[in-house]
Symmetry: C2
Subunit: 177 residues, 2 copies
Amino acid sequence: MDLTERTTSSQTLYKGKIIDLELHDVVLPDGKNAKREIVRHKECVAVLAVDEDENVILVEQYRKPIDGVILEIPAGHIEEGETPELAAKRELLEETGFVATEMTYVNKYYTSPGFSDELIYFFFARGYNTSQRNPDEDEFINVKRLSAKDFIRLIDEHGTTDEKAMLAAYYYQARFM
Amino acid sequence: MDLTERTTSSQTLYKGKIIDLELHDVVLPDGKNAKREIVRHKECVAVLAVDEDENVILVEQYRKPIDGVILEIPAGHIEEGETPELAAKRELLEETGFVATEMTYVNKYYTSPGFSDELIYFFFARGYNTSQRNPDEDEFINVKRLSAKDFIRLIDEHGTTDEKAMLAAYYYQARFM
């Protein structure tokens, strides 16, 4: 079965700083009509970074959409003209002061393809910690370092977590333990 | 450091079928002002389901935001009055005809806490396949069954994947292989 939905008309309802919102009229595979709400988002990177002591580098950040502080792995937008790998190195250094000496691309994935085109390039990094942090003006971040074992335990025991951190924990356990 | 951002005013820019969009004016921890774009989304479930032959149940679906067909694990909204576990059982049966005889809650996570409050309850299910599928009116789904090994290989080799499927593959390898 051809699953494609054909757009017959579309409108941009909102153009923002981080996201745009579009509404599409589509024709379904059976010929019926439907509406699709689409959030456009820049491509991003997320990095599982491990230092010389086998500690995982984590960032604790307040996130307005969930009105709470959450533990994540370092992540951020890919800037204009930047490769995903350069973005991963830059975000790591800016957010945490971590210098990557090895940066391995793992995979890329859509975070929520039902309503958003946000695509994340996922990397695994090795390197060392420095004090050269330089977060964005509106970013307030606490850096945490946990052994891989403690990180995985935290993900398992914590009530609610971040998708990138959970993915990183399972990836680390699957591939390195 | 207290990382909380206090909302001073907010407006709902769009109220839709799947998502709402809000714009908040916030005060940052250093007293400066910023704007936050927030996508509100219903809570969801996602299920890694394994049948008697140790095959993983997957769904292939066209997703308008990425304009393409993508392989995912079964997932869907938690309906009003439903527990996450019941939603997981219902979505599995509706989308794939799979009857869960065991349903284990693993964890819950935010898919993209930087701009969205979408929360996914992640389950691991065992059970058996039936032909009792009944997808939603606007859902067109191909069901696929892959051995865990082939599923993990596919995730590793595929160019771009779905976050839930990737998480499920690493989880399965970390915990069962």
